[in-house]
């Protein structure tokens, strides 16, 4: 009963002591037993129920995609002038969610933040699956997805090459690189645990399956030396990469001439928004999962509190972005910019979406000034959902309101999503959930090898307490 033991240990903590990143000092085998338990135990009913729901939604995704491809994107609500809508909203939303995973696994590793250790695999898996969902949208958005390979520079019989001056091509390279690097980083991080899964497996099938993915890992000192530096370097290159991806996504907008799309603050403001929404999604996923698996001793209140603080900080950066956009629109003296920000968005037909965005993204994070809110699971979870919603509405506001009222009133039009739009969106959530549930079932969601290292570091610190302060 590792679950209740872990929970009991957490309960016994002194309320006046700072919450540790690892409760107790479990031995190596204990760590393995606890963290691998979800993989080795029987499939649970809750898991099956959730899986059934997610798979059904994923089925809806395939139906909606098949319908779109067979009929054409006219089945979406997109029109002239709102040529970008759910396809790009959802693309930016999903990509943004992915960013927290890379931030946690790479940037916090470089900053030697110990609290990243227990949540990094979780967050990286989230990144990977979120980017997969994101990739679906631009692929369909081209209208003839069977020609998507034209986006890649290959020597074709047409004897022409893609236009690399187009932000569309930048996106292709940025998002594909992001997916590739996230996948490699995640897989390399998994190797020691895959080997441990192979070595602790009870059945031959499991041993062979995990053995294949472990590639023959023997924990060799000769390889650990390469591995550690490789992991650090991957973190090092992922750091500018993650910043570049949302920067390039923001260029899709910033390079155009539409009112509301080209303030110079776009790249940093997009990156901050991405991290903001990504942390929200990590919280949305991690709170139920740690409860279900009894991982409260490895993913402690400290982790949740720190994530809440990051959300508070990035939420304020996003608010600053909004503030500056509005300031530029007023100070710049451009009539169209002014109308977009102060009339269309605030009081136009999509005003409820705008005010939802303000409520969710600007107001909600301020609850985290209170420690009570940062330590309450319900507050954290609900706030994280609100931020997810808020960041989705932000992309809706940026894209739809700017497009539906541009320069000439004769070209103005309303946009309403169709059932196909909603099905594809809901479907990607189902697909994401399906992949995430499979991940929780078949791979340890907290890295055992890194928690073992963390314990050693904490023990080392306890022996030399002065070393930590400088």
């Amino acid at each position: 009963m590792a679950m209740s033991e872990a929970a009991a240990k957490v309960d016994k903590l002194d309320v006046l002591e700072p919450v540790p990143v690892l409760v107790g000092r479990p031995g190596d085998r204990e760590i393995n037993d606890q963290l691998f338990q979800p993989v080795w135990t029987q499939t649970r009913r809750t898991w099956l129920a959730l899986f059934a729901i997610c798979v059904s939604l994923a089925g809806l995704l395939f139906l909606a995609i098949a319908y779109t491809v067979a009929t054409g994107i006219g089945v979406w609500g997109n029109n002239v002038p709102v040529g970008w809508a759910f396809d790009i909203i959802n693309f930016v939303w999903w990509i943004g969610i992915g960013h927290a995973g890379t931030l946690i696994s790479a940037i916090l590793l470089l900053f030697q933040q110990k609290w990243r250790t227990s949540i990094n695999r979780f967050a990286e898996a989230m990144t990977l699956f979120a980017v997969m969902q994101a990739l679906i949208f631009p692929a369909l958005h081209t209208g003839r997805p069977w020609f998507d390979f034209w986006l890649f520079p290959y020597p074709s019989t047409l004897a022409l090459w893609p236009n690399f001056k187009s932000p569309l091509m930048w996106d292709v390279f940025a998002v594909n690189t992001y997916f590739l690097v996230s996948l490699l980083f995640w897989y390399v991080g998994l190797l020691p645990d895959l080997a441990a899964l192979r070595d602790t497996s009870k059945s031959r099938t499991a041993r062979i399956a995990y053995g294949i993915f472990a590639l023959g890992w023997r924990g060799s000192a000769r390889l650990w030396r390469h591995y550690r530096i490789a992991y650090l370097l991957l973190a090092g290159i992922s750091t500018p990469l993650v910043l570049s991806v949302h920067t390039i996504v923001s260029f899709d907008f910033a390079v155009s001439v539409l009112p509301g799309w080209h303030t110079t603050i776009f790249p940093p403001y997009f990156v901050a928004g991405a991290i903001f929404s990504g942390f929200a999604m990590v919280l949305t996923l991690v709170i139920p999962a740690r409860k279900a698996f009894g991982f409260e001793n490895v993913i402690t209140g400290k982790h949740l509190e720190n994530m809440a603080k990051v959300m508070l900080a990035t939420g304020m950066m996003v608010s600053y972005g909004y503030l500056m956009e509005h300031f530029h629109a007023w100070y710049g003296g451009n009539r169209f910019e002014f109308d977009t920000f102060f009339k269309t968005r605030m009081f136009g037909p999509y005003a409820p979406v705008y005010w939802t965005m303000i409520a969710c993204n600007v107001i909600t994070p301020h609850i985290f000034w209170w420690k009570k809110a940062r330590t309450s699971l319900w507050v954290l979870w609900i706030a994280s959902i609100l931020v997810n919603v808020g960041m989705w509405t932000e992309r809706f506001i940026i894209i739809v309101t700017s497009l539906h009222r541009d320069y000439l009133p004769s070209s103005w039009a309303q946009y309403t999503p169709t059932w196909v739009d909603w099905s594809i969106y809901a479907g990607t959530i189902g697909m994401f959930g399906t992949l995430f549930l499979l991940f929780l079932r078949f791979v340890p969601s907290v890295s055992a090898s890194e928690v073992k290292e963390l314990r050693r570091e904490l023990e080392h610190e306890a022996h030399a307490p002065a070393a930590g302060h400088g």
Partner: protein, 176 residues
């Protein structure tokens, strides 16, 4: 034919001490196996600095050069695309893609370089013949020596003397 002699330690410090002592006795082909990187084992085994950073640098530079060359050749030479009369050779617009190709190639060379250095994928290895070796990925710290079969017994003795338990020997008939 080669033989592998393995011994298990429960403590990291004991593993490091044993590795150092065996190396000082002149044993070659030593390797340690542990669930986590062991502090001080590199010095004890006399391992040199990793070449991974060099591989990464080569990959990254190749990516940069390839990214710039690709965009220049494709858009300015082989199929010049005139966009509103703007300069065909305009390096600023190449930056995003050149950056991405740099990162992509660096990551690929780091990971596949790592796999090559580890001889991956190698699903079977003689040390896996030892049933107890399963702990090497959980909580056991193993020292292995790759030796001539004639010297296997001596190596096993040296390991035992250094404090190892579960000392085992595997003969690899196919050779490696």
């Amino acid at each position: 034919m080669k033989s592998y002699v393995l011994g298990e330690f429960t403590e990291e410090a004991a593993l490091v001490a044993a590795a150092r002592s065996l190396r000082e006795q002149g044993w070659a082909g030593l390797d340690a196996h542990s669930p986590v990187p062991v502090h001080g084992i590199d010095e004890a085994l006399g391992l040199e600095r990793s070449v991974v950073p060099l591989i990464a640098l080569i990959g990254a530079l190749t990516g940069t050069v390839a990214g710039i060359a690709m965009q220049w050749w494709m858009n300015a030479v082989d199929y010049p695309i005139n966009v509103g009369g703007r300069a065909l050779v305009s390096p600023p617009t190449w930056v995003p893609i050149a950056f991405e190709t740099t990162v992509a190639l660096a990551a690929l060379s780091i990971v596949f370089g790592l796999f090559a250095l580890g001889g991956f994928p190698r699903l079977h290895h003689p040390v896996f013949e030892v049933e107890g070796f399963r702990t090497a990925s959980v909580d056991g710290f193993w020292l292995s020596a790759e030796v001539e079969p004639a010297r296997a017994e001596a190596a096993a003795e040296a390991l035992r003397k250094a404090g190892a338990r579960n000392v085992s020997r595997v003969d690899d008939e196919e050779g490696t």
